[in-house]
């Protein structure tokens, strides 16, 4: 609309400037007067057209600047969201890595504790063996024989029973260790 108005005003100014000098005669006073009036009108039309055109150009520049600002805002927002999501992903990855290391630490601690239990069991067994061996040696010092010692410690009398055989094997193992 503004462009149409500017165009019409410009054409009117051009017409009012160029047409009257070649239509009217300068020798007739009324024609001469009308030439002056049309020239003034043409000047006014061109002045208004120029004013409108400059205003429209300024508005277009403002719109272009506004659009550029909106685009810049959108780009900034997108880049910010990308940065934030990247940071979130990085934090999640770091948490995951930290939890994995925690798990590894727990597994390592569990492994260490089970190793300690095993050593404790071995120690207890060794202590039991040494106590048993000491008892056997005390009984031998009293003059007890093998059958009597087995009867005294394991409560199994001499014979071919599996219990006696197991006790005899234990007796031999404990003394064999000594």
């Amino acid at each position: 609309m503004s462009l149409l108005k500017v165009s019409i005003l410009s054409l009117s100014g051009l017409t009012l400037w160029l047409a009257p000098p070649f239509i009217f005669s300068r020798k007739i006073p009324l024609h001469n007067f009308l030439q002056g009036v049309t020239l003034a009108s043409g000047f006014a039309c061109c002045f208004e057209a120029r004013r409108c055109a400059l205003g429209h150009a300024k508005a277009e520049e403002f719109e272009a600047l506004k659009e550029a600002a909106i685009n810049a805002d959108a780009v900034d927002e997108i880049s910010t969201s990308v940065y934030v999501s990247e940071q979130q992903r990085r934090n999640e990855a770091e948490l995951l890595i930290a939890s994995t290391s925690d798990r590894e630490l727990l597994e390592r601690a569990l492994a260490l504790s089970s190793e300690e239990d095993e050593t404790e069991n071995v120690q207890l067994a060794e202590n039991a063996d040494s106590e048993l061996q000491e008892r056997i040696l005390q009984l031998q010092a009293r003059g007890y024989g093998k059958a009597k010692i087995i009867l005294e410690i394991w409560g199994v009398s001499k014979g071919g029973s599996p219990k006696y055989k197991a006790a005899e094997a234990e007796y031999k193992r404990v003394l064999g260790e000594a």
Partner: protein, 89 residues
Amino acid sequence: MIKAIALGNNFLLTAIASSFLCWLASLHHSLLLFVQALFALKLIVSASAWLLDDAIIAILKIDLLQFRFRLIAATIGALVGAGVMLCRS
């Protein structure tokens, strides 16, 4: 487009003003002298502007090319406007 129209209207304004001055000059002998003096003044100002272009563009804060374009357009517009009124019937 709209800027080109604005520039064209600048040219038309100069030309119409020049034509109007020529029309005024045709009304009376004393007005003719006045208009001749105005055109002479315009000529002097234009010549000075051509010579002092560096200082003027520093004051007006415009490009040198733009300043020269405006000077040439104003001179041509004034000449065309005067020519139209001289060629009238």
